[in-house]
């Protein structure tokens, strides 16, 4: 549905996107993960026809975004980072205007506007000026304008940025509900978001694709050196040395400023699960095991890992895609 081949975008001497290639199958949700300034927004802007690429090509729903921009744009819905709202229009007027320029037939316009307002839960604000909406409502009106012409492809630039937790959950549900009928590309810098909504992830850093995979494979592969959080009721350095003596453990560090708390971060060899051995060691010594859990990986750690794994030498070849289930 979306095909991106060797896309490169240069601003003067700065290369924002460097030889990016990926494809998205119909009905799939693809997550675009990367830190700020990685090139996510630039890639999305090229896909939506907002700006041309310096090199490479991109097709959306079978139409090249550069040679057939109008055809491609008709089939694309786009939510930019800041929802493009006109502050002096009411929500209804605004959506009606968007429906007009997105070529929704005039006979269907009113019912489409009503339908998307209901779907994105903004119908209670229909008569409110866009400029007076809260951040959450702006974001949802932005989403409403992206889906108003029922596009085949949806491109969402950080759809949950700036929302409160309840709104984030609602938005994710909404996006999941849109999948199937729509092919979705969404960008984010929040890792859990990707595992909750996306079927496949493209990790991009400094304009380059560093990994393409399913969230599960990615976390499994990225887990590499396993870190566990362990808390025992026996304090002191004594417990630390005992934990470090367990086979497979490579490093033990206090997880707390107070050594007496008995909390440790335990790192083990790659791919080796030491939970069983750790708990046995603790229990046989007669201590109480208060907590034992794998530490959640932050995006920073994922990045550190992905970038160091590739190394500067073989950064040319992105990680091979795992066969899709």
């Amino acid at each position: 549905m979306i095909e991106v081949q060797h896309l490169t975008k240069r601003y003067g001497r700065v290369t924002a996107v460097d030889d990016v290639s990926f494809r998205v199958e119909p009905g799939e949700i693809l997550g675009f993960l990367g830190p700020n300034g990685a090139g996510k927004t630039t890639t999305m802007r090229i896909l939506t026809g907002y700006m041309p690429a310096s090199e490479g090509r991109a097709t959306v729903a079978g139409y090249d975004v550069f040679t057939h921009p109008i055809e491609a744009k008709r089939r694309t819905g786009y939510l930019p980072e800041t929802p493009p709202l006109y502050p002096d229009m009411t929500v209804r007027e605004y959506l009606d205007f968007v429906a007009r320029i997105k070529r929704v037939p005039s006979a269907e316009r009113k019912s489409r506007v009503d339908a998307v307002m209901k779907r994105t839960h903004v119908d209670d604000m229909a008569a409110r000026a866009c400029g007076k909406l809260s951040k959450g409502y702006r974001q949802r009106v932005g989403l409403a304008q992206a889906i108003i012409h029922n596009p085949e492809v949806l491109i969402l630039d950080e759809p949950t940025a700036g929302l409160d937790p309840k709104q984030i959950i609602e938005t994710r549900e909404l996006i999941r509900g849109l999948a199937g009928n729509h092919t979705i590309v969404l960008s984010t810098h929040i890792l859990p978001e990707v595992s909750q909504t996306c079927q496949r992830v493209v990790i991009i850093n400094k304009g380059r694709v560093v990994a393409v995979d399913t969230p599960d494979n990615l976390t499994a592969r990225l887990r590499g050196a396993e870190t566990l959080y362990v808390q025992v009721d026996a304090g002191g350095a004594d417990a630390g040395t005992a934990l470090a003596s367990v086979p497979g453990v490579t490093r033990v560090a206090p997880a707390d400023m107070r050594p007496a708390s008995g909390a440790f971060e335990v790192q083990s060899e790659r791919g080796r699960d030491v939970r069983r051995e750790l708990s046995r060691e603790i229990v046989t010594r007669g201590w109480g095991l208060l907590e034992l859990r794998p530490m959640r990986m932050s995006l920073e750690e994922v990045f550190l890992q992905v970038t160091t794994e590739e190394g500067p030498g073989d950064a040319e070849a992105p990680v091979q895609e795992a066969p899709r289930a």
């Binding site: 802007r45 026809g49 008709r74 786009y78 930019p80 002096d88 007009r100 320029i101 070529r103």
Partner: protein, 253 residues
């Protein structure tokens, strides 16, 4: 065509849903009313004197012409306020991203904005029609020269709008757009002042460039194709460069 209408419609609504349209029209009507009053009273006084000697005066040449010539200068001051926000505001607020990613061509966007701004200008001009109505009620001016003069005003306004759009498309700051367009319009006006003092070669060129000079014949009731052509080519030139400017912006990102 549908897209142009949609965009022009939105532009026009946004002028009227904010105070801008009312401020602009009020700002135009105030000096216009003053000029109208001054020229009309002096005309009445003079025509009374003339009547004693059995002469007659022409209201088209003595009132309408001067009032509209002065109006063309007020218009020059007001136009930047109409056009400064067209592109600059959309670029600042990011709504340009909606337009550029919609199935609409650049030319449709530009024409939509052009007609939207022109719509406000026409609304502003239409408010002066009651003044002309007063003249028709109490006197009997000729209507044909009046139509010619208004045609001239519309063409001149179109030229201002098109150049204002161009300036607005180069910046994302309304104030900058407003000031630069004002300076450009001002230069296009005062360049005509050199016509008398400059030599025989430069003189005609400067007077030919002046945007208000070309309105002179219209105000007298003359529709000369060379002036129509001047305004139409200025409009096309401005819109063409705006299209180029939008395209350049797109490539630079």
């Amino acid at each position: 065509m549908r897209n142009i209408m949609a965009i022009a419609d939105r532009e026009l609504r946004s002028y009227f849903s904010s105070p801008i349209a009312y401020i602009i029209i009020g700002f135009f009507l105030l000096p216009f009313g003053v000029f109208f009053y001054l020229y009309l009273t002096s005309f009445v006084r003079q025509s009374l004197q003339m009547a004693q000697f059995g002469g007659a005066m022409n209201i088209n040449q003595q009132v309408i012409r001067y009032v509209l010539q002065n109006a063309s200068v007020i218009i020059l001051f007001i136009m930047p306020m109409i056009t400064m926000r067209t592109y600059a505001e959309e670029k600042r607020s990011g709504t340009i991203e909606l337009l550029l990613t919609s199935p609409v061509t650049d030319v449709e966007i530009i024409l939509g904005k052009f007609f939207g701004a022109l719509g406000l200008y026409l609304a502003m001009l239409s408010v002066t029609l009651p003044y002309m109505g007063i003249l028709f009620y109490y006197g009997n001016p000729e209507w044909r020269p009046l139509v010619a003069a208004y045609l001239g005003l519309v063409l001149m306004g179109g030229a201002f709008v098109s150049l204002g759009l161009l300036v607005s498309s180069t910046t994302n700051n309304q104030i900058v757009a407003g000031i630069v367009s004002f300076v450009v319009f001002l230069l296009l006006w005062i360049v005509g002042w050199f016509a008398d003092t400059a030599g025989p070669t430069i003189g005609p060129i400067t007077s030919w460039l002046s945007i208000t000079e070309h309105f002179d014949d219209f105000s007298k009731g003359i529709i000369d194709t060379k002036h129509v052509l001047y305004y139409l080519s200025l409009i096309t030139f401005g819109l063409f460069l705006t299209a180029k400017s939008v395209d350049t912006e797109r490539w630079r990102g």
